[in-house]
């Protein structure tokens, strides 16, 4: 009995790990590349729980800032930053430093 216990526990742990896997799996990451003073095209098919990652491939420092201020990412040249989308709807964002730079992302449930 006591011999079988560690194996039993291990099996339980593996089962728990397997069960937890779908929830713990990496979210789909949608990348928006910033170059030449522009945000790249909005990704399609974004769902709640997905991540949106901005990659600043520009020479200049930018931000990805939500109009509703729900996020404000500072992106030095070469930097990468992401958010995880928590609700469906439209996200309007812009660069605080360069207000002419704007973008919109549609998030579905």
């Amino acid at each position: 009995m006591s011999r079988g216990r560690p194996a039993f526990l291990a099996a339980l742990l593996i089962a728990a790990a397997l069960a937890a896997r779908p929830a713990a799996a990496d979210p789909t990451v949608h990348v928006i590349r910033i170059a030449d003073m522009r945000f790249g095209p909005a990704p399609a098919g974004v769902r709640v729980g997905d991540a949106i990652e901005w990659v600043n491939a520009d020479l200049f420092e930018h931000t990805a800032t939500a109009r509703d201020r729900s996020f404000d990412l500072d992106l030095k040249p070469g930097a990468t930053a992401r958010i995880v989308v928590r609700s469906a709807g439209e996200i309007a964002y812009y660069c605080r430093f360069h207000p002419g730079m704007t973008g919109r992302i549609v998030v579905r449930q």
Partner: protein, 176 residues
């Protein structure tokens, strides 16, 4: 004569293929273009630094910080590029006249304070970016031979266009 009309004159000379009698009619060379573009950026960095010393308006200060940061970034890249290409930027009549006009404008702005300074600074930023945009798209970019220099000037143009738009919005807000 104010800085804007002087700058437009200097850059229009370039845009029209340099028609001043004492000058050659030849298009500017890459080393000259590099010097003009670098000087144009440096001028805006110095104008921004002056604004950061004088202005207390949060929006004007944020704009000035953006000018200093962005133009310094593009100029750092320009220095790295000319080094890589083995090109020595060549001082020329256009960059010299840009510098002397900028000095005049800095002196003029130094005498202003508060809202008067803010308005004059932003108005000049609108006009300056407009002028440089015209020179970049009309002369400097088409005349640049090296593809990397051309590409960097293209990036500079997009930057200047965005700055011009930002300055125009600010000018409206300040009631210029």
């Amino acid at each position: 004569m104010n800085w804007n009309s002087l700058a437009i004159g200097a850059l229009a000379m370039l845009a029209s293929g340099c028609s001043a009698p004492a000058q050659t009619a030849a298009a500017p060379t890459d080393p000259q273009i590099a010097h003009i573009a670098y000087t144009a950026g440096q001028i805006d960095v110095e104008a921004g630094q002056q604004a950061l010393k004088k202005s207390k308006n949060a929006k004007v200060r944020a704009f000035a910080e953006e000018m200093v940061r962005d133009h310094q970034a593009v100029n750092d890249q320009a220095l790295a590029l000319v080094k890589k290409l083995g090109v020595t930027p060549e001082p020329n009549a256009t960059s010299a006249s840009l510098s002397s006009q900028a000095k005049t404008k800095l002196d003029e702005l130094a005498k202003l304070d508060g809202a008067a300074f803010d308005r004059a600074y932003i108005e000049n930023e609108v006009a300056y970016h407009k002028t440089v945009n015209g020179a970049l798209s009309g002369t400097l970019i088409p005349d640049a031979k090296d593809p990397e220099l051309k590409a960097l000037l293209g990036t500079g143009l997009k930057l200047f266009q965005e700055h011009q738009m930002h300055a125009e919005h600010l000018a409206q807000e300040l009631g210029s």
